[in-house]
């Protein structure tokens, strides 16, 4: 029989791999409800549907998996205009919601600081101290805390499992191990009267400029 379904199936999956497919089409600028279809720029501006299909797919938001796009080097967004300005990173996961009805939340500092500066969150959205913020899904859905970005620019709040991503018992074990390690360290530092919450992993520069314009 000349018809070979297996080949077709293999081709189909190969065309989908390695990333999630895009969920649908991107609206045309002239029909998107914000651009003036009679304006002179409408034929000059780039259509999302011309640029975004080339980036790793996702099912929500811009239908782009922005973290994959960045880490695979498909896009190389600049981290600064002034090359002397430091591109601060922190590789530290924070586990939230250890005992709730939903799986625990893993907040990855690294994925965030690849895009954002510390001052975008600290201290006006979150104090840089584990457990010091009353983070709640209610406030997030109102566009506060994580919801300042998620639901506006970063992937939307419908993607529950991208935040609630770790089984509770696993997160509890990880946090217990972190706390034991910190207790050991602060016992060792005890004589030097170090503050027990001091974080040895945080960069030497603390966020102080509050995200204010340097031009003003």
């Amino acid at each position: 029989m000349p018809f070979r379904p297996t080949v077709l199936i293999a081709l189909l999956f190969a065309s989908m791999a390695p990333s999630t497919p895009h969920a649908g089409e991107w609206a045309k600028l002239a029909e998107d409800g914000v651009h003036d279809p009679k304006g002179p720029a409408i034929g000059l501006l780039q259509q999302p549907g011309d640029a975004l299909p080339n980036l790793p797919g996702d099912t929500a938001g811009n239908q782009v998996h922005w973290i994959k796009a960045l880490r695979t080097g498909v896009i190389q967004p600049r981290p600064n205009l002034d090359p002397a300005r430091e591109d601060r990173r922190l590789d530290k996961d924070i586990y939230l919601d250890l005992y709730g009805s939903m799986p625990s939340v893993r907040f990855p500092h690294l994925a965030h600081t690849e895009w954002l500066d510390c001052t975008n969150c600290h201290d006006h959205l979150f104090l840089p101290k584990r457990g010091a913020n009353n983070i709640s899904m209610f406030l997030i859905l109102q566009g506060q805390q994580c919801g300042v970005c998620h639901g506006a620019v970063a992937f939307p709040l419908t993607e529950c499992s991208r935040c609630h991503s770790v089984p509770n018992n696993q997160a509890q074990r990880i946090v217990a191990a972190i706390e034991a390690e910190e207790a050991k360290r602060s016992a060792a530092d005890g004589d030097k009267a170090a503050a027990p919450t001091t974080n040895s992993e945080s960069p030497s520069k603390t966020p102080t400029d509050g995200g204010k314009a340097k031009t003003k």
């Binding site: 379904p5 929500a60 859905l141 919801g147 639901g151």
Partner: protein, 132 residues
Amino acid sequence: MSAIASARLMPALLLLGVALGTGVSTRSHAEYADVVLNRNAEKEGMRPVVFPHWFHRIRFRCKVCHAELGFKMRAGSNLVTMGDIIDGKFCGACHNGEIAWAPENCDLCHSGKPGLPPGIFGGHETNGPGIW
């Protein structure tokens, strides 16, 4: 794979392929994270400004605009004037004829539909900050 099983599987897979290839939904709303800036533009006879996050985040990380250049993360909260832009602030830090095209291309920024209020568009899930 037996002939019967593959015969049953094929239409489903082909449908899936067609759906993925051509897209199932045609969306008639703004691209996710588009921002309209219109505190004064329309009052002064220009179309509202449409700022596309998707286009800029391909080229710049958030920290460039929201830390280095000082754009506050709240649609409508930045008072941006043409004077600032021509002085090299806000959009003008890049739209200066060097990093990006110069401010004289009025219509590329002032491309919005008349009557739009300032705000974030395209977020069908939530509409961003509710309480400030």
